[in-house]
Structure formats: C-alpha cells, structure tokens
Assembly symmetry: C2
Homo-oligomer: 681 residues x 2
C-alpha cells in the first residue's frame, strides 16, 4: 500500500516505455529513439500474424508450422478442469500428449488471428452524426453490425469486430481468422504453474511455470501455420530489448475525473466486496472435499487474482495526488477545448449520475449477479436466441448480431461438464444476495424466489433442467422458433413451459432487458458521444500516445530489468530454495524434485521487464529485437496494478517465464522431446 502510494506520486511524466501501441500505428521511430530498436513493417506483420487471441480473455502465440500455440497454463485452466474427472485430475497431474492423436479437445475455446485492420472511423461517425440517446444507440449498432457482417459474410472461419478506439474518436475494423477447435498438448502441474499461489501472485521475485501448449485444429486436422514465430537462438539477458505482442484487456488512462470518481465510489467497491465474499465462500466450500477442490480450484484462483488486481487498482486511484493531477489536466484541456466540446465533461458526469441509480439493478439483472449459474447462462442465451435472430441484424442485442453468432453458438454448444453441486451453491448464494440487496419485500425478489427460499428455488431450477446437456442445447438451437421444439411436451407446450430453468430465464428476461436498455440509451450513448468529443479535443492538443486498451492486439517495447534491489531474473536454484518448506502453495512437484540433478541451477526461471501491459496480456509472447520468442508473459508485479490508470516505469514490471526455462523443463522434467523438437527444430 505504501509502495503504491509513492509510485503514483512520482509518475507525473510519461515514461519512455509507456504505451500499448496499435500495430497499424506503431511508433517505430520513437521506439528506435527510446530503446534503439525500431521494427519495420515486415517485422510488425510477422509478429502480428504470430500472435493469437484466445476469446476467453487471454493472449498466445503460434510457435510451430503445425498450429502449435503457446499460452499460459492459467489461460487453459478451465479446459483442464473440463477434461478432468474424479478419476483423472489434470490440474494435479499435468498433461502431455505423447503423440498428436492423444491431444484432447478443449471445450469452450476459440482462438483468433488478426489478419487485417481497416479504418472505418468515417463510416461510423457519419452514421451517428447529429443523433443522441436511444437513436444514437440504434444507428451505432446498425452501422457496426453492417460493417461486421459485410466483412465476415456469414463465414464461421472469420471473425470481424469493429473496435472503438480513443473512446469513440476512432473505429477500426479487425478481421480475424477464427479457430474453434483447440486441443491441449502440454500443461504442467497446477502447483508449478501457480507456484506460490495467491501470496506470490503479482509478486516478484517469482517462480511461476505458467506455461501450456495447445494446437489449432480445423476439420479434425492440425492447422498449417507457416507464419509462426521462431524460438530465439539466444535467451534474454538483463537489459535486452524485448517486445510484448498481445491483447491487453482494458486500461482507463484517459477518463474524465467524474469517471474516475465513479470507479472509486461505485464500481470498484462493489466488485471488491463481491469478490471478497465469493473468495471466502469458495475457499471454505472447496476445503470440504478433494472433489470440490478439483472442480472449483481454478474458479477460486481467478477470483483471488481479480481481487488482488482490483485492490491494487483501487489503491492507485486513491493514492494522494493521482486525482488532483487528473483534475488539473482536465481543467487545462477543458479550457482549451473548442466551444462545441466544452459541455462534454458535464454531460458525461450527468450520465454517470443516472448510472449510479441503475448500477446495482444492472449488475444483479442483466449482469446476472443474481443468477450466478452456468445453466442460467445457457438458458438465457437459448431463450433469447429465437427472439433476437428474428430481428433485423442491426436491431439485435450486440451478441446476437450475425458477426457474433458463431461465437455465441460455440459457447452454447461446447461440451464442458456442469457440476450440479457447484451450480446449486452458486445459484443459492446469488439468490440470497439478491434478497439481501433489495430486501424480502421487493417485487422483483418475490417474483424470482416465487415464494421459496433461495436454496429450495435453486434446487428446483438446477435439478429440473436439461439445459446442462450439450446435445439437448444443440437440438433446441436447431429447432429454434418452431412451435414444437424438442424439450416441449406432447401437448405442444413450448420448452419454456416445461423446463424450469428455461422458464426462469424467460420470467426474468423483461426486467433484465429493461435495465440494459436504459443503461444503453441513457448512459452508454451519452458517455460515448461525449467521450468522442473529449477525445477529439485531446487529440487536437497534440500526440496522445496509444489509445486505451480494448482487448485488441497491441505491441509494447521495453527492456529486461529489475527494480530497486530486486534482480531482473530468478533461477532454478531459487525455486528449490523457495520450495524447501514443502507446503502448499510453495510445494515443488515430484517430477521437478526428481529432475533436480539434471537441471542447471543457474538457468533463468522468471524474468521481469519494463513493458507496459495489463490483464489480457497473459500468454503473450515475449520476443526479442528480431521478433523471436524469448519468454512467455504471465503476470505483472504489484507495482503494475495501478497500470490501469497510469504507467510508472521505475517499478512497473511485466513478469514472464524465461524461454530457457521452458526448454529446460520440457527436456529434463517432462521428457517432452517431440514438443521440444517442434519448438526448436
């Protein structure tokens, strides 16, 4: 806490390494000046095509000509859980496919490769010119849907997204190659991937072997990927120039003061309190049996990660001086803004006052916090599907637009197992939370609980539904809109009348849609429109650097570097020292202990770099000046948690698994010779 407070105080100037840059607007000259390396277009194209986005919120890279993808263990943890059972716990044992035909399909996974970027700013701004509120939303949605559909043309192997940049001042159309079949090739033991657990998370020195390999398939065969990244001949050393090519999920460096206050006063406290309670519940619940631990460990880890990240973010936001500086900058910008934009800041603040009154309703209803259950998630999408797809493309909820449908369908048709016990406790908790938030006398609460207690209601919905069956969902999807859909009964009743979870999704849908509509019309559209004006005013003042992150491909440059008395790298020797206690979460896996003699104690383990990254960059390749792989990004340090709002080069560090360790572990610990040969032929 102290450290973070100080950090923010000193960060008044943009530091050399700040910036998650667009590939089509990469400042090569600046990079050349700052770190002595300025990538040319061929370099940029090669690294772009070697970069992969996982639709679940991670980054990755292509590392062989046969579709081999490197990412973090934590990015495919849910896959490993889905492939596990009471008898076979892949988190505990790890996984290595002896041959390609032993590679197993990850349910729920999608990968994207960015093949083309087109500037569509003019199209979008023209379409929304002169309108506001619901009309703005409608026009915006229609134009975005049109652009995306025109690009993807219903081709399920393409994904096209219109990306909002600079808070609406620019729009780019990203065309991706879409892969919907990923198979797991290699994963270490969870205890090694997440070595140090929650205490070490976001810390450095660090000993995480957070690496995994999957393979892209199409029509049952590995995809050919000649455009892959090469493994570097030489490992990274201190002070080496390194790049991170990945998908930072989001930053909030160019918000208005009112928006920062909203985060401070509304969003962050809500999330933190909610995550903290969930963490306590999951952790205690998990302790009751090994089977519970197996099915919930990964979820808990994700919750703990968010909790720590948001805590750090909040602390950066309330650090003395941060908001005062933003306020001064804003006053200056406002004074210099063109007359037409001067009201934009107040307009944003006014929309946020509306959002305050909608926030909890939105979270609980459309946000689904009142119905926390993957079965509810399936049911809602199944229930909305026929309603939305019957509308013209431009009028649908965004996730049902033609360009988004393949992803939606894949999510609905995945074969991930559902754990009824977890579904029940989770739904019970969230129904209880709903009652807590609104009180037992609230009309919506009464409607949702239907005269039952939260646990009885949850049991009734979970026990009675067929929604957990992927085959049943597929039939349902294919029979959409027909009067006698599968799951209905002989009397011709619709499935919503027969299946309790489907009926439930329908029961609450109007309430959920209502608050979403108000949020879109009265808040989002106001904020977007006015942020666009503010962003233009800022751009008019001079160069603004990279736009805030948007889970789209960015490139950042930096160097391998420690901070304070912390060295830039840890070593294999350090791992065994840290594991000497022999107690989780500092427990070295048996295979590693067995291989200890074969491992060189001096081999670098994890590495810290000055690159500017944020959540979403997990799994990004760390590449050298030639664009060749020297590591695998998996975290930032505690001092990087304020990176959402400000980059501070003195102590903000990216944390990656060193490339040398990946090779050494595959060779000496796991005997993964075929994989090794594929990586470094």
């Amino acid at each position: 806490m102290r450290a973070l407070a100080l950090v923010v105080l000193v960060s008044s100037v943009a530091l050399a390494e700040e910036g998650m840059f667009l590939f089509n607007e990469f400042p090569s000259a600046q990079a050349k000046k700052d770190v002595g390396v300025g990538p040319d277009q061929a370099w940029l194209d090669r690294v772009r095509l070697g970069s992969i986005r996982l639709a679940n919120g991670c980054s990755a890279s292509l590392v062989s000509p046969n579709g081999l993808v490197m990412t973090n263990h934590h990015c495919i943890r849910s896959c490993l859980e889905d492939l596990s059972s009471k008898e076979r716990d892949l988190l505990a044992t790890g996984f290595l496919a002896a041959t390609k035909d032993k590679e197993e399909v990850c349910p729920k996974f999608e990968a994207n490769q960015l093949v083309k970027i087109t500037d569509v700013t003019t199209n979008v701004l023209d379409a929304t010119k002169g309108v506001s509120g619901a009309e703005f939303q409608k026009k915006l949605r229609a134009e975005v849907s049109r652009l995306e559909s025109e690009c993807s043309k219903g081709d399920a192997t393409k994904r096209c997204d219109v990306v909002t940049l600079f808070h609406g001042a620019r729009f780019h159309l990203y065309e991706y190659r879409r892969f919907q079949e990923l198979r797991v090739v290699f994963a270490p033991e969870f205890q090694m991937a997440a070595f140090g657990g929650d205490p070490d998370n976001f810390n450095f020195p660090r000993y995480g072997f957070d690496a995994a390999f999957v393979r892209l398939y199409a029509n049952g065969a590995p995809v050919k990927t000649p455009e892959h990244l090469k493994w570097a001949k030489q490992g990274a050393k201190e002070n080496d120039v390194v790049f991170v090519s990945g998908h930072p999920g989001g930053t909030e460096r160019a918000l208005t003061v009112a928006q920062y206050e909203f985060l401070r006063d509304v969003t962050l406290p809500w999330s933190l309190v909610s995550l903290a309670e969930t963490r306590g519940r999951l952790d205690e619940w998990m302790k009751q049996s090994p089977d519970r631990e197996r099915i919930v460990k990964s979820k808990l880890r994700a919750v703990e990660n968010s909790l720590k990240a948001l805590k750090g973010r909040r602390e950066a936001l309330v650090a003395p001086g941060f908001l005062e500086k933003k306020r001064k900058d804003e006053e200056a910008l406002r004074a210099a803004a063109p007359e037409a934009s001067k009201g934009a800041w107040d307009a944003v603040a006014k929309a946020l006052l509306t959002q305050r009154t909608l926030y909890v309703d939105y979270q609980m209803r459309e946000g689904g916090q009142a119905f926390s259950s993957s079965l509810f998630g399936y049911a809602r999408r199944l229930a909305r599907f026929p309603v939305e797809t019957a509308k013209p493309n431009g009028e649908r909820l965004r996730e049902y637009s033609e360009a988004q449908l393949p992803a939606l369908k894949q999510g609905l048709l995945d074969a991930a197992p559902v754990h009824p016990e977890l579904e029940k406790v989770s739904l019970t908790w969230s129904l209880t939370k709903l009652r807590e938030v609104y009180g037992a006398d609230d009309a919506f609460v009464k409607k949702v609980l239907a005269g039952k207690s939260p646990d009885d209601r949850a049991a009734e919905l979970i026990d009675g539904t067929k929604v957990g069956d992927a085959k049943w969902r597929k039939e349902r999807l294919e029979f959409t809109g027909k009067s006698k859909a599968p799951g209905g009964d002989a009397d011709g009743r619709q499935v919503e009348e027969v299946d309790p979870m489907m009926a439930f999704a329908k029961l609450v849908d109007d309430d959920c849609r209502a608050v979403r509509k108000r949020m879109e019309d009265e808040v989002d559209s106001q904020v977007r429109k006015n942020m666009e004006l503010i962003s233009e005013a800022r751009r008019a003042q001079g160069p603004t650097g990279a736009p805030d992150a948007t889970f789209t491909l960015r490139l950042s440059y930096g160097r391998v570097k420690g901070y304070g008395s912390t060295p830039a790298m840890t070593t294999v020797k350090g791992l065994f020292e840290r594991g000497a206690l022999g107690k989780a979460p500092f427990l070295v896996a048996d295979k590693w202990n067995a291989a200890k003699a074969k491992l060189n104690p001096a081999t670098p383990y994890d590495v810290a770099t000055t690159n500017d990254i944020i959540g979403g960059n997990s799994g990004s390749p760390l590449v050298d000046k030639n664009g060749d792989v020297v590591g695998l990004v998996f975290d930032g340090n505690l001092q990087s948690l304020g990176g959402n709002f400000v980059y501070e080069g003195a102590e903000n560090r990216t944390v990656a698994v060193h490339g040398d360790l990946i090779l050494a572990a595959l060779k000496h610990v796991y005997g993964a010779d075929a994989l090794l040969k594929e990586l470094k032929p």
Copy 2:
C-alpha cells in the same frame, strides 16, 4: 442505493429531531419547542440513573427495584453462546429462569450506571498546553490517568472515564457504578430475536423480538435498584413523543473533509473487504455441522450486521453532494477561523497522510487482524500486564492504567469457553491474510510464521497453549512479575518460554507496540490537537448542537412515526403472515405458533420513531414524556445508516420492540409470570 443517494441530497438543514444530547447539557427548551416536551432536571436525573451501559458496546435499562435489566437479545447473544454446549443450545431454545436461583452468570459481562459528570476541560487543556507529538500524548495520558485514578481510587465497583467531547474541545469525567456480575433471566429463541435474519436487518417493516433480561448481582445477591425506570401505563401510539436514553457508539458528523476522504479511501474499503470475506468464510464453515453453527452463529450475525451498516455508511459518504457540501462548509469555517487555527485543517490532512502509510501495519499488528484468535488476545494481555503495571500509571498503555485495570482483569478472568476448532481456522485465516498482505518474503511474515505454513503454525500455537484455561490465567495474573510463575517449568524458565501462545505474543509485541507508538505520536496527537482548534473555531461561530457520539450516555427526542407509505408500527398479525413460508430466516418459533390463538393480532410488534441514534444504542429504553418505558430500541432502518455522517429526519428511523409486545409475549408465549410481575407490579 438509490434511496440513500436521494436522502443525502435533500438533507441540507438540521432537522428538528437531530441530536444525541449530553445529559448535562440537554436543550430542554429546544425539545419543548420541537416536540412539546421539555424534561426538567429531576426527569433527566431519573432517566440517567435508570440507564445502563454494557461494556461490550450496548445500552440497557434498569426496569425493577431488584437489579433487573432490559436489553437486546443480540446484546447478550455471546453470553447465551458461552452458556451453551452440544447438549444445550440456548440460542435455539431461548432461556427463562424459573426462579432467581436459576439465573445463570454471563461470562465477560460488565454493566455501568452513570452516577456523576464533572467538567475537567480546564485540567486537560492546561496539562497539554504548548506541547505536541509524543510529548502531547504523554502529558495527555498522564493527566487523564491522574483524573481517572483520583476518581476511582482503586475501587473495583467504580469506573471513571475521561470522555473527549467535541473532538478535544471539551473533556468530561464520567463516574460510573460498575457491576461485574450479570446473570441471564430471560432470552427468546434466536430465530425470534433475529426474525428475518440478514435480509430484514436494518429494514422496516420489521418483526424482531430482540429482547432479553439480565440481572445485576453483587456478592452473589441481586443488586437493589430503587432508581429503576417504570413501565408505562399506556403503550406508545403513532405521533407520541418518545425519548431514547442510551450510548451511541460514535458518529462522524463534524470531521474535516480530509478525514471524510480518509474514511472513503482507506478505512471503509479496508473494513468492507475484510468483513465480506469473513462473512463468506464463516457462513460456509458454519454450514458443515450443527455444532459449528452453534458456536459461530452469533459471530456471523455480528459480521453481517457490520457489513450492512458500513455499506450503508459508505454509500451515504459517496452520495452525490455530501462531500461537496462539507467542503463548502469547511471553506466558510476556515475563512472565519482565528489566525492561530487556520493551519489546523492542513495539519490534520498531513497527519492523515502519515496514517495512510501506517494504516495496514496498524490493523494487522496492534489491531490484531493478523492474529485473530481469542487465545492470542488473552496471551497478549497476560504478556503485557507485568510490563505495563510496572510503569508509573501515567506512562502505561491506556488500557493498563489503574482506572482501566478492573475491566482488563475481568476480561482476562471470565470463564467463557474457547472453541479450539474455531480458534484454529480463525488464526489460520488471519495468518494467511498477513502473508497475502505483505508477501511471503516479508521479514515480519517470516518471523510470525517461523518457517511453517499458516495452518501448521496456528495448530502449534492453539494446541500447545494453556491460555484458554481461566484458572491458569488467574494464577498467571496473580504471580505476575515473579521469576517462577505458574506455567513455567522446573528449570525456572518463564512461562513465555514454555507456552507457545505466550511466546508468540511476546515475539510480535515489539512490532505491534512500535506501530502503535507511531500512530499515537505522529497521527493521533496531531489530529487531536488540531481537531481541538477546529472544534473551538466551530463553537465560536455559534451553537453546534450535540457533540459527536462517544459511547457515552445521550438523550434524543422524537416521535413515533412511519415514513413514505410505511406505517409506524407492525403487528402480531404481520408476524404470522411474514412467517407463512416457514423457512429460515422467516421461521416462527413453535412456542409462538402454539400461542397464536392467545395473542391479539392487533398488538403492536415493532415500532419506528424519528429519534437520532446509532450503533451502541442497541438495548436503549424507549421512554415516553414521563420517562416511563414504552419500548426497547434494537435497530435503525436502512435510511439511518448514513446517520454516522448526517441525520435526515424524513426517512431516518429508530426501530424498537413495542412495549406492549414484550408484555404480551412474556405472558402468552413464555408464561413468564414472575418476570411480568416484576416489570409491572
């Protein structure tokens, strides 16, 4: 959330009923003007002597000449738990002593009756004139200790506290009669006391029968209390004038903007996140067995209560307009302040910057959040006792000063059972939290964990200690300072060397004391000194109303009143309607169902009033214009949660059990004829 936001916006003027007034400065003329009743001195003295403070943070009243005390069930819940066992669960069954000799001693309880108030402002201000920092602390502590000792003269039946009022502008010496033996007389079933559970907590309409009776004893016999309050002949009706005489724990209505920002940015988020996680853990832990539920239910309820209260408080603090108004008021006050005081606001802000850097250290170490275990609490006090009592009175830590020693000793010598399983999980959680907060590489973490995992360390400390044995603690206390204290061994080693928890308390003590000293010298003394100046500046501007609450006796006036469409009272009929579902926490107890026919459905159940109260007022008598009992305060509504910062009469309500219900329940449900006769002879 919405409701609270609106509430604060409209509350720009002090409302008639605002104020938790000092008994020795009660504005009778103003009360007469506002509600038509202006109590005279005899009325005030009578009600003051009929009011009781429970040292655990509650209020109560004397309601018979034989030491009978009425308070809330939730105020003695820990006593009921301490008297319970696997075989006898007093929370489940309730308790009624058939005769006086069946009344059972509550461990850990102390009651105080305020017999005298003396203004000692001049003494304290003279003693601290012209000094600051550590010297200020020292002089202040010395003078306060001197005044308190001079008052109590070592008499264990007296308690003397110097009370800081108006943030240091005034000091009053409160002399109490002290009772250290309380026996439980009557308690209803937990399910009736806390009917509606967490969802109904802080709500109205409400159906809590949160009542209990205990009796004061001295030397094994009931204490004679001719000064008790009388039960009113006539129950309270809508619009009746009512008073609440009790001990509001604390308000923060006259802070500086920097202090409010500190609450918003540091204190409240820390507490909320911590409470939320604890709540999740306790709730899941409790669900695993009925025995766990028995020993932890009350603790969980307290955690949930705090969580809801602090949530509401935070929302009031960040409500649009609240801080802006405080900022404007402060600017005006500052402009008008005498030259010598003008720097006080900045000085407070500066001290708070220091507090930011100490906050987490303080909470974890001296605040004990890293060592959450009642055994640690005993051990720390036992370890500090000989060290502190060897010092001159004025130089001791405040809780070891002569005047405070009887309370300290009583806390150490109570016979409350210790639950090792709960101790272990609680200590494990908090040690884990310590490691989470500082990281595994931190020197203090390493010292505390001593190379072990949190669960192993907790088990070692809990399993090995004798500290849980009250008899052992007594021996230890009496042999203090001697070289071969009980618990030591034949080789003459001190007990700290033999008992692991005692050794642990000693191990961490320097670190804990160090942060406490910095907090007192660099923060508290600076804040106190400057708040004194600010408070004087405010008083110089005109009447300031009541001082912020300080868990000392206050009197507030108001009326029985509903709000919006909510009526002022609920009825017995409503209870049975709300319980129709028959599911916890809305489950009517068997005895009540059995008595349903005998109960008049129209009997008032709970009642809402406009009195200005806050946490600590739980258990306060609600009295009519004659000073006679018409109800028992146990809660406020959701709209009162901002009352910490601002009173808003339109919707802020006190919630009490109606006097008529108490009589009806004792008669028809519990057949408590003797008790009834004692209340209403």
